[in-house]
Symmetry: C2
């Protein structure tokens, strides 16, 4: 089938006919996959099929080079339609379709129940509904920042549109003028418990119009009509919403339930396809492992230059967030060809990204009080060839957006989260603003390097490290101005030849009686405590732990030599650094 | 000032005049509180002031009995307007205003930077924006279930309306016909970083209209106009949105910044009020502790009858979620005067609340794919004199809604969360649906009893326990059908005279060489492992831990007597039961 790249005004007849046949066969694949697996979501897979087939066959994507630079982006947000997506991609030679049929939903297969970013052709792992539009927006923003002229289609469910994050994403896209985005809603009118309009009526078109989108309704099974509305405009005045009116075969039960072999047999007859289920079942039984075994390809951008570390003198008194802001500015000045993207949620002054916004307005994205969308959009941008920072208060950067980080984590994004105002050090705002659980939250993820720098010098080094190393970072800091940590000669401990390495702890002062192990701002308190203990002839060692999720066995061995070990952290004791056991798995990344 | 209960069509002149004077003085209080504290949010406090003063002075609320049954509900969602709320409530004798001025934002004061539910007159602790409408909706729903005829006003910010959860709450209220809700938006047009329409344009009125609300615009500083639109209608056809157009004094900087004493002096002069800041500063300096010290009053409803436990025979094979569904039905039949409320997010068939929905449709709330709103609304309902269950898959019940539980936790709600499909036992859905971190997440909260029952019998007892005990419960279970756990005589271990007690572990089998400590579905695997070890002449004891956040020192002592202790859990090892140390704080509740 020829790839038109949507150049003709209307779909050529030959391609239309080929796609019709393609979909007829792909419907058979969907039934085979789900009936053989005995589970899965055939309903939505069928209703979205013409959209999938048209986009992946006609857009600027390449089965031989799925990560091609400048490609169009096709993001599927309702990830449970994996059978439809896999049938489409398999038939377009992104991978071997037979392997999908033989292993779909089997343990160890790359073809899981919800689509995965490791599979060629798939931009984003989804399944947890409501986040695909945000991530697609982030990718489109990153592509624009990289000077790429392409189109992003984001395909979603109608039931999914009940989720609030979509309202945020819609406003974000409109505000940032991402008019090369088309959101497609598969309006099959059914969700697991019944009719979408009865479960939770949502006037999707009216809501998008209220936010300034261009809304078009189309027959979601008519390939020529779909072609016409999905074709990118040259100069769109607004982002576009396509309401694709579709029919979910059978009833809402088949939203999330496979057909029985008997039902499948009838469906094959209707489609005019052979019923080869028994033969395939045997193949499936003996296929222990898919021959397709994809590694998540990580086209991570890092900054080329870490710039020149800023050294804060021994008599400097400052807060870590200002040191972050200064390091960010220095990184930007030293990487003008590859400027980082910086996201803010209405707190730029407090989190110290304001100056960056003034000097680099095209790379600063004011995202309003919409943390969910921002965490996901920033994550999406970070896997689209940009270095991305998002700075926010700890409660918003960790607690409020925990589930967005979970999806970022699964997607192995490349996001640098700077969480300021962590701990009780947020000040007098009260309980709702106390972030005292971030170590535990980030500790349940697998790919978020978590760092709590001790002072402005270490903050400066850590920020530069995160920007020049791949992967997600969560860098936590307080609000207060505190003295610089010094060595025994009174020189800045984290200055001069000091280099930050992930997982390394710092032995700030020697001592023989007691060890004080402190984190972040509390290293300063540890130093004060040490002085007080000296007055009582107690010799206290001070250790600074900046990577509480990666405490080395070496440190624990060393600590076992002291009579008493005291931990100091601005965090809940039961879930923080002090609660970590010796055998806590080292979770590092990159 | 007379309390009209909004009976007259228009506000009586005397009350209008009194309220004008009231607001003039309260503006002085706001300046005093924030300038003395050197922080806080005077801007929004001032712009919302007439709304606060009118509602708390005229609605059916009682300073002498703030928890009066059948009262109107006034929920403030933009909790940073605490100075305005406290000035209003103090001047209406809900508490001593002087104590607020003397201790606002001081460590140990009940008057924190964001409003707290412990303070008389306040329904909900807020500050984390975007959740107040959901919680107010839950309260209105509980009141309706309790046959109360009242009105609920929810006051919000305009910047706050950028948050996606509000879109969910809006649809939920409309669907459930909660037409006695009025949402008021303080449209002062400013947020921390500048003008709301520039930060993130949101056409609030159009969005609400799209979802079927009745929208009215009003001058938010005109007390007679506000009275007219805030007055409850007799038979409203839809919930109402009031766009209160207000002016934020000074500029957006004063959204979140106090005036200096000099600026305050000028403001007092403009208001015709005395500048007594110096004198108050002295009082504040020497007031170590507020004489007002409120305990959170907990009008918790529990079910009167725990019904009759259902006993599953030794040869029964079933899943815990079906046992939950059956226990729920039995509880309902035995508490017809006090039926629990049950919330669902489009998964009733899988989480086994479908039958309850069929038999008790007025107490079953299908909330669609809107987990954020549901978690908060269910939390709100649970502190409005109802027993409330919300059942959902683990990833939605824990990960997706973590931050909603955090606010519930701070509010010490009374919610029973039943998390099904936890662990890898969710089956073949893949990574986005694996909830393997719930122990760690719930462990960062302070008032969520977390229980992982071992089999259908224990599930039955646990569900009854949660419904007849106050406080939040998080009850986690898998998906699979598994055998019943038996005692050494082959009788059901959790049947007969067994009674569940929070924090108690169960010693299922004695053994001398090895101890296997298992949780939930894995207790069955522990039993199988024990059999296998017996073949090699290894004697293994089996312990079942159902309360992983409350492991007793006694159990740990006992375990220290074995040469080897093996933990088995369908959870991430590093953050689950097996990671808990001996001195882990017992976090129980109720």
């Amino acid at each position: 089938m020829e790839r038109t790249l949507f150049k003709p005004q209307d779909i050529p007849t030959g391609i239309n006919n080929a796609l019709k046949e393609f979909c007829r066969n792909a419907r058979g694949d969907i039934i085979r996959m789900t009936t053989l697996a005995g589970s899965g979501h055939p309903g939505g897979s069928m209703s979205s099929l013409e959209i999938f087939a048209l986009l992946w066959s006609q857009a600027n994507v390449d089965p031989k080079d799925p990560l091609k630079k400048g490609r169009d982006r096709i993001v599927v947000s309702h990830g449970h339609t994996s059978p439809g997506v896999y049938a489409t991609l398999g038939r377009l030679d992104f991978f071997d379709l037979e392997q999908v049929v033989a292993t779909f939903r089997k343990a160890g297969s790359p073809f899981e129940g919800h689509i995965e970013r490791s599979i060629p052709g798939i931009e984003l792992t989804t399944g947890n509904l409501g986040q695909g539009i945000s991530a697609g927006a982030g990718m489109a923003l990153a592509d624009r920042s990289n000077g790429i002229k392409n189109h992003t289609w984001i395909i979603t469910g109608d039931g999914e549109h009940q989720k609030g994050q979509i309202a945020e994403a819609r406003r974000f896209i409109r505000k940032l003028g991402l008019n090369n985005i088309t959101v497609v809603v598969d309006c099959n009118g059914l969700q697991i418990c019944g009719r979408t309009d009865r479960i939770m009526y949502t006037d999707i078109a009216a809501e998008y119009r209220a936010d300034g989108w261009d809304v078009t309704e189309v027959d979601g099974h008519s390939i020529p009509d779909l072609y016409r509305v999905l074709r990118p405009n040259d100069n769109p005045a607004a982002p576009r919403l396509i309401m694709a009116m579709t029919v979910m075969e059978n009833d809402s039960r088949y939203h999330g339930m496979a057909l029985t072999p008997e039902q499948a047999g009838k469906a094959f007859a209707e489609l005019g396809l052979p019923d080869n289920l028994e033969e395939l079942a045997k193949i499936r039984k003996y296929t222990r492992k898919s021959t397709e075994d994809f590694q998540l390809r990580l086209p991570y951008r890092i900054l080329d230059s870490e710039g020149t570390p800023i050294e804060y003198d021994a008599d400097h008194r400052g807060d870590n967030r200002s040191a972050f802001g200064a390091a960010l500015m220095d990184l930007a000045r030293n990487n003008t060809d590859n400027l980082p993207m910086v996201f803010d949620c209405d707190l730029a002054g407090s989190v110290k990204t304001k100056q960056f916004g003034i000097e680099y307005p095209d790379h600063f994205f004011q995202s309003g009080i919409m943390e969910h969308n921002t965490a996901t959009a920033a994550g999406g941008a970070s896997i689209a060839d940009k270095v991305v920072f998002w700075a926010d208060f700890g409660v918003f950067a960790a607690d409020e957006t925990f589930n967005q980080h979970r999806l970022n984590d699964i997607n192995m994004t490349n996001l640098k989260v700077v969480a300021t105002h962590c701990g009780l050090d947020v000040g007098m705002d009260g309980k709702t603003h106390h972030c005292i659980n971030y170590i535990s939250l980030m500790g349940t993820l697998y790919h978020y390097n978590t760092i709590v720098p001790a002072d402005p010098n270490q903050t400066d080094r850590v920020i530069r490290y995160s920007a020049t190393h791949p992967g997600n970072f969560f860098i936590a800091m307080g609000r207060s101005k505190l003295p610089v940590i010094t060595d025994e000669n009174g020189e800045p401990f984290f200055g001069g030849i000091y280099r930050f390495e992930y997982g390394q702890h710092d032995h700030i002062r020697k001592g023989s009686d007691v060890a004080i192990v402190a984190m972040g701002n509390m290293v300063h308190n540890a130093m004060q405590t040490r002085e007080l203990l000296l007055d009582s002839n107690i010799s206290a060692a001070v250790y600074a732990v900046s990577c509480p999720l990666c405490i080395s066995a070496g440190l624990l061995d060393e600590l076992s030599g002291y009579r008493l070990v005291l931990t100091l952290e601005d965090h809940d004791r039961d879930t923080g650094m002090g609660s970590k056991k010796g055998d806590y798995t080292v979770r590092s990344f990159g």
